[in-house]
Amino acid sequence: MALQVFHRTRILRSRIHSSWMTFALVFSLLLPVILGIGLYLKSASLLQEYSIWEILFSSKWKPLSGQFGMLPFIISSLWVTMIALLVAGPVCLLSAIHLTQYAKPIVLRIMHPVIDILAGIPSVIYGVWGVLVIVPFTADVIGPIFHKSITGYSILSGGIVLAVMIIPFILNILIEVFRTIPEELTEVTLSLGATRWMVVKHVLIKKAFPGIVSAFSLGLSRAFGETIAVLMVVGNVTHIPTGALQPGYPLPALIANNYGEMLSVPMYDSALMLAAFVLLVIVIMFNIVSRWMIHRLEKNI
């Protein structure tokens, strides 16, 4: 009798655990959908007044007179992320090849904590570092090269800070990608008399190409959503930037900077929620495509 009760409680407990587990799983997977719906509903009132294209491709941002053109912010975001990728991409690619093909195991053992710590540093710390080092650097070193006197709070500073922030992220994925390329492939080429570098150039890069592209685009999407660090160094001036030394005003910075005053102006909160929604959609799309490419690469080799 006692044993029966014991078993019954065990089964009951198992059922309770299982249903909690199922709930947690469903909840976690629905999270992006809930996020999307929530932000969309908040921005719906703006979308009733204007069409989405009107908002995305108009350059007039005057919330007080009801004009919500987001083009300056979108262009700024593109500038900053492209510069970040231009700086971080080559560095990561070269370093990943070095670490997986040439370096001794000890170098990799040093690099692992370096990557982890770089990835773990909060973005506000990157922002402080940007203000302390990168902003004066652009003002005092880069500016004079182009014969311009600038404050240093510019798209270039934002791009450089972002580049350092996405380096650990891209590097990690690239190392994984190069690891999936089978050893035999490189060994065969080596045995035919090729140098290591020829193997890298003609075999490794070609084989891993989709993986490299995806790693870069994942880094790009990460840079696209970065807020605080960029906000602190990029200058935040509403205009369409035409050069890297000008200040910019990326989309996440726009959201973060205006949350205080947005409730008093009609439609302002809808506009900012729409900005967040646009950010969410772009980042998710980038992520799905590039993760899928990496997944395919791992399966095919």
């Binding site: 976690s28 040093i110 998710i284």
Partner: protein, 286 residues
Amino acid sequence: MNILKLRKAEELIFRIIMFLATTVIILALCMIIYSILHKGLPSVSWSMISQLPKGGFYFGKEGGILNAILGSVYLASGATLLAFVLGLPVSLYINIHLHKRKKLVNGIRFMLDVMWGIPSIVYGAFGFSVMLFFGMRSSLLAGMLTVTLFILPIMIRAIDEIVKTVPSGLLEATLSLGSTKSETAYRVYFRQCISGITTALLLSFGRAIGDAASVLFTTGYTDNLPTSLAKPTATLPLAIFFQLSSPIEEVKARAYASAVILTVIILIISIISRITSRKYQKNKIK
């Protein structure tokens, strides 16, 4: 013969460039830590850590940032706990209950990886609009819930990476001895992975304590100690952010000092997680 020399030279040049690329990354980390410590350490003092902001604090008068330190610790601990309660079952479930359904599990992992990429400002904006919907004011609780959502995918995937490595023989053995799946999950798998789970907890805690964009909307800012879940709370990243934007030098210096405190917390977390993941490794059945 000449072409061989050319190839060797090309290889040498590229090896040097590649080596430089790796060095640049290491140097960047050193430079970040050096510049933060160099600028901030002179302003770090005991009163800074142990006191609340006093009158005229934001004009450079006396006081400290205990409110922000405690606020951040409360916020991050609460969020990590909530994310753990939701996240651990998910990672166990997809590795034990869904053990045979490889395709489904891969799909779930894919989704979680995609969610990892969602920027924290989006979570912040979402948390803010939900807060308004329910008529809540900015508070510790609202911030905690928002940060929970933000670190949930990180928590699940980090634990999942560890649970994945448990040999499936263990699952078969325990099930054949008559244990239920949830007993296997919590009594066998959980203990097997305890070190990895600690690392995952620390990783999520680090993310939670360092993120500013998700709490910017939701927790507000106050000079008082956090006494209730329903009240607004100061956080360390925002303390740095707000103080740095001040034109007064003393306040700026305090921002640098706060940055040192946050950096040291993050470094300690990362060192502890390295130690724990080594220490428990030897008790594991392989």
